[in-house]
């Protein structure tokens, strides 16, 4: 952690809020397009007795003609016995996973840009201060 961050705890809080918000938005979008993503994390919710995960879609049509969908993760056993694992838990785990992906992407981008800056030959560096201009 750079000194800039340790000196400004407010920056960390803002970064965390942005991260949580971005992860929630990303999870909302991905869970609408690919609800089956929850099955990736099924081992966290399904035990060995009911190891097969299904994301079940319920579709409702309201009186005004609007269509709504509900998703539920089910753990299913070999005899068809099943347990409702809900959707809140899987959604939360997907959000955490997406937050980790976002952090990794940001770290990779920062590292890449620093690497590029270091590799640039000194002659091609832009003059950023008067001291650079004098030297």
């Amino acid at each position: 952690v750079s000194r800039k961050w340790t000196r400004r705890p407010g920056l960390i809080a803002v970064a965390l809020v942005v991260l949580v918000f971005s992860a929630l938005i990303l999870t909302t979008i991905t869970s609408v397009i690919w609800p089956g993503e929850a099955k990736v994390f099924a081992p966290l919710f399904c035990d060995d007795a009911q190891p097969d995960a299904f994301v079940v879609r319920d579709t409702y049509t309201s009186g005004t003609g609007e269509t709504a969908m509900n998703f539920t993760l089910y753990c299913v056993g070999p005899r068809g016995d099943h347990r409702d694992a809900g959707w809140f838990g899987p959604f939360l785990v997907m959000t955490v996973a997406n937050a980790v992906v976002i952090v990794l992407l940001v770290v990779a981008l920062v590292a890449w840009s620093r690497f590029r800056r270091k590799r640039r030959p000194p002659s091609s560096r832009r003059i950023t201060s008067t001291s650079d201009a004098i030297t």
């Binding site: 079940v56 879609r57 089910y74 299913v76 005899r79």
Partner: protein
């Protein structure tokens, strides 16, 4: 991209409710012994009674739904309905009992029915005895019949339905196509 998003919305990796129900049926209907043992454990804790007196026990495995009619151990003439969904036992609902209802003649205890500890075998035996293709258990009802507790297993299939009856030990008594 927007059109693709709308087209793909809720499509990737999901199973529709009807298809899920069909998958449960394809695997046999979902009969496992914990359908009874789970709610009974909760009922024992709730009543403080090791072996509560029951008047009826009905299991719908496809929805993990168990209905129990129970005599209050403190006031034995009081009867309550309990429902268990997904393994969670709900609150008791009082049942009206008529003056002519002979509760004692309908009362049984789970300890009298060893078959409830091996419901998987009961389900398999029912399906085998009826011999339907793609058969699955739709419900199991426990009650007193001809003075003894027994099980009545309803079996469904795309082309036929039937009923198998078992004694308290899980011995097959009859299997009849409807």
């Amino acid at each position: 991209v927007l059109a693709l998003t709308v087209l793909l919305s809720g499509c990737v990796g999901v199973t529709d409710r009807d298809d899920f129900a069909a998958e449960v049926q394809r695997r046999g209907g979902g009969v496992t012994s914990d359908l009874v043992s789970g709610p009974m454990d909760q009922l024992r804790d709730r009543l403080g009674e090791d072996d509560p007196e029951l008047l009826a026990l009905s299991i719908t495995p496809s929805s993990r739904y168990v209905a129990l009619q129970v005599r209050d151990p403190d006031e034995r003439d009081n009867v309550d309905d309990y429902v268990s969904r997904n393994g969670h036992l709900g609150d008791p609902e009082p049942v009206r009992v008529s003056a002519t209802d002979d509760l004692d003649s309908r009362t049984f205890r789970v300890s009298q029915l060893p078959a409830l500890d091996r419901l998987e075998d009961v389900a398999d035996d029912s399906i085998a005895a009826l011999g339907f293709d793609d058969a699955y258990v739709t419900s199991i009802d426990v009650s007193i019949t001809a003075g003894a507790p027994g099980l009545r297993v309803s079996v469904g299939s795309p082309r036929a339905t039937g009923t198998a009856t078992f004694d308290a030990d899980g011995q097959l008594l009859s299997a009849v196509r409807a």
